[in-house]
């Protein structure tokens, strides 16, 4: 059996006396879409921050395995190293580089896959010129794939909301991840935009052969997208399984879904 793309084992995160995550176990298989749900303050974003290196977990391990079987332990790595290992993320509140153009935003995503240093930047040997040209071309291709090429020279802050969300995913994909973490990608979207997002995520998995872990409150989206769902509350996992299993689980209904279960 192949290794899961992401394996979180016994992850614990304390903030002073507060235990935000309590011995949490979670796996994301290769090319699997896994959703993480739970009430507000359950520790979902904390988990994301532990996985991506923004927080250093108190206990437990995070392991990342690429499709060709290389495993990396992520604990204690800084966020940029984690990204270099092949994991990218988006943010709950959009964090684009507002005063940079759409193309530049994606070019930043290419940063960790190119090499030019200070001497290269100043002397511009042919290698650097080629690299820069390649970066612009690659970034434009990514924008085309995400249907954002019409905005290419627009400042990121001037984009409509849905396009900003898409740009954030495009920027993350520019780092060539094999695992993508999406933090509430549908937040603030209307029904039509959410449907488009649904298609986009499925398309992402098919095109790039990536695994996806997402946090989402929109149950309709979660139920239709995910292969498996994890439910957390107060930093503990209270249920896991396929969408059907989870939606029938009495603990989940009690803690979170309530009467929304058949919605």
């Amino acid at each position: 059996m192949t290794q899961p793309a992401l394996a979180v084992s016994n992850l614990t995160m304390d903030f002073g006396g507060l235990r935000a995550l309590d011995t949490l176990n979670l796996t994301v298989g290769q090319k699997e879409i896994v959703a993480l749900i739970g009430p507000n303050g359950a520790g979902k974003t904390t988990l994301f921050n532990c996985i991506t290196g923004i927080y250093v977990p108190t206990k437990g391990g995070v392991d990342l395995t690429s499709l060709n079987g290389e495993t990396h332990r992520l604990n204690g790595l800084t966020p940029d190293r984690v990204t270099a290992k092949g994991m990218a993320r988006t943010f709950q509140n959009i964090r684009l580089f507002q005063n940079m153009t759409v193309l530049e935003n994606v070019m930043i995503g290419r940063h960790c896959r190119i090499k030019t240093g200070i001497p290269g930047a100043v002397f511009r040997p042919p290698k650097t010129i080629r690299e820069e040209k390649q970066v612009i071309e690659d970034s434009y291709k990514i924008l085309e794939q995400f249907r954002l090429h019409a905005y290419v020279d627009e400042f990121a802050k001037n984009l409509p909301y849905g396009a900003q969300r898409r740009l954030e995913i495009a920027r993350a994909m520019a780092t060539e991840p094999f695992l993508l973490l999406l933090d509430e990608p549908a937040a603030g979207m209307n029904a039509q935009e959410t449907n488009e997002l649904d298609d986009l995520i499925i398309w992402l998995r098919e095109t790039y052969a990536i695994s996806i872990l997402l946090i989402e409150h929109d149950m309709k989206l979660v139920m239709s997208l995910s292969d498996r769902i994890y439910v957390v509350d107060y930093g503990r996992k209270i249920a896991e399984g396929t969408p059907e299993e989870v939606s029938q689980n009495p603990d989940v209904i009690k803690a979170y879904l309530g009467e929304e279960v058949d919605a």
Partner: protein
């Protein structure tokens, strides 16, 4: 929204009323000091009502003009929003339009080349000083304008460069041309040294720590007599030489002038290339959003340190030239005030914009020299200009026109 502004017009009864109110309020506030004059010799009280009239009229006019400008600005912003496009300001348009910028560049180039032939030694001297500030301000522009790190102790690196040349020359007799790269390298090293402790800081906290760093360097220079000769400074620093050719004072000053022109061109060249590179993009991303920038795989530590170090390099080199030009340095040349001036060059000129920073540095260093007759009011005018600039043109004289990456098929 803009319709409302247009309907009411820029002058309205409402505005007059508000200005009248400000004027009455001012008359009331200044009444005790302006109107009541106690004559202590004759033991009488004089009532100078005429002054009250002046205050009132002055306050009314100032307030009215102020309001008018604010309203005009707001109308302008709304207009801009309505247009929804990236409206460029006039100087930006002129710079980006090659029809204007090419001849302008040629004229400026010729002007700077023939400058020493046209003007007196004094003029050459102040222009050289201004060019040193251009180089140093361009260095600070990397730190503040590109990477968004507010550094208030920048003059410390300038001092490092100046003392590097002065001391190396005093103890080992090393020449200017060897010391110039050493000064730059030492600036780089000190930039990294300062960078390490402030990696976690940003915004106000960073400003305070860098301010402290600048003061520490100055105090060390002032108090460590054995090392830096204390407040009396170091005199008789040789001017830069050229293959051992003997030069008169005026020739030498002209020589330093051309040397500064070359150094300025070199700085512009390097800073521009850095700005339009992978490193420059990383700096801008760091300025925009630190967390997102890390999540995109940019090493925060390395990016911050490189910004500090590369900025400080120019200050170090500027310091070496400064020491060689003035032939005398002491810690009084490197006070916090100098940091503030350099910072003002960057902010006033336009953060992140190379042309803007050059303009800012030239204006701030040259104008006070030409207006020596009004030197008592210099600070007053300086303060007023800063306030007005921040209100009406927060982007600086020539705000940033970045090279926008274009995709060509």
């Amino acid at each position: 929204m803009s319709d409302i502004v247009r309907d009411k017009g820029l002058f309205s009864w409402e505005e007059v009323k508000k200005s009248l109110l400000a004027c009455v309020w001012f008359m009331f506030l200044t009444f005790p000091i302006m109107v009541i004059q106690v004559n202590t010799i004759h033991r009488t009280v004089e009532w100078k009502w005429d002054r009250m009239v002046f205050v009132g009229v002055g306050a009314f006019l100032l307030s009215f003009v102020w309001r008018y400008m604010i309203r005009r600005k707001e109308a302008g912003i709304k207009q801009k929003e309505a247009d929804a496009d990236n409206v460029k300001t006039l100087p930006q348009k002129l710079i980006t339009d090659p029809k204007f910028s090419r001849p302008a560049l040629a004229i400026v180039g010729v002007f700077f080349i023939v400058y020493p032939l046209l003007f007196s030694l004094y003029q050459i001297d102040i222009m050289t000083t201004a060019l040193i500030y251009v180089v140093v301000a361009l260095g600070l522009n990397i730190v503040i304008g590109l990477a968004g790190l507010l550094d208030l102790g920048y003059v410390a690196f300038f001092a490092v460069g100046a003392y590097c040349y002065a001391l190396l020359n005093y103890h080992f007799g090393m020449g200017f041309w060897i010391c110039l790269p050493i000064g730059g390298a030492l600036g780089f090293i000190f930039g990294v040294l300062l960078g390490f402790p402030v990696l976690r800081l940003r915004g106000d906290y960073l400003a305070i720590v860098t301010l402290g760093f600048g003061e520490i360097i100055r105090l060390i220079l002032e108090n460590w007599n054995e090392f830096s000769f204390g407040p009396s400074g170091i005199a008789n620093i040789p001017r830069p030489g050229l293959f051992g050719i003997e030069m008169s004072l005026s020739q030498n000053l002209t020589y330093i002038y051309y040397l500064m022109i070359l150094l300025t061109l070199f700085t512009i060249f390097v800073v521009r290339r850095l700005q339009d590179s992978r490193i420059g993009r990383a700096w801008m991303a760091l300025r925009e959003d630190e967390i997102a920038c890390q999540a995109m795989g940019i090493n925060k530590t390395r990016t911050k340190l490189s910004a500090f170090a590369l900025g400080a390099t120019w200050a170090g080199m500027g310091g070496v030239v400064f020491a060689a030009k003035t032939t005398f340095i002491n810690p009084a040349s490197f006070t916090i005030w100098e940091s503030v001036i350099i910072l003002c060059c960057v902010v006033l000129g336009g953060m992140g914009s190379i042309v803007g920073v050059i303009a800012g540095a030239l204006i701030l260093k040259l104008l006070p020299e030409y207006f020596r007759a009004f030197s008592e009011y210099r600070m007053l005018a300086f303060g007023a200009v800063l306030v007005l600039m921040m209100v009406f043109r927060p982007g600086g004289i020539i705000s940033d026109v970045r090279k926008v990456y274009k995709f060509e098929k």
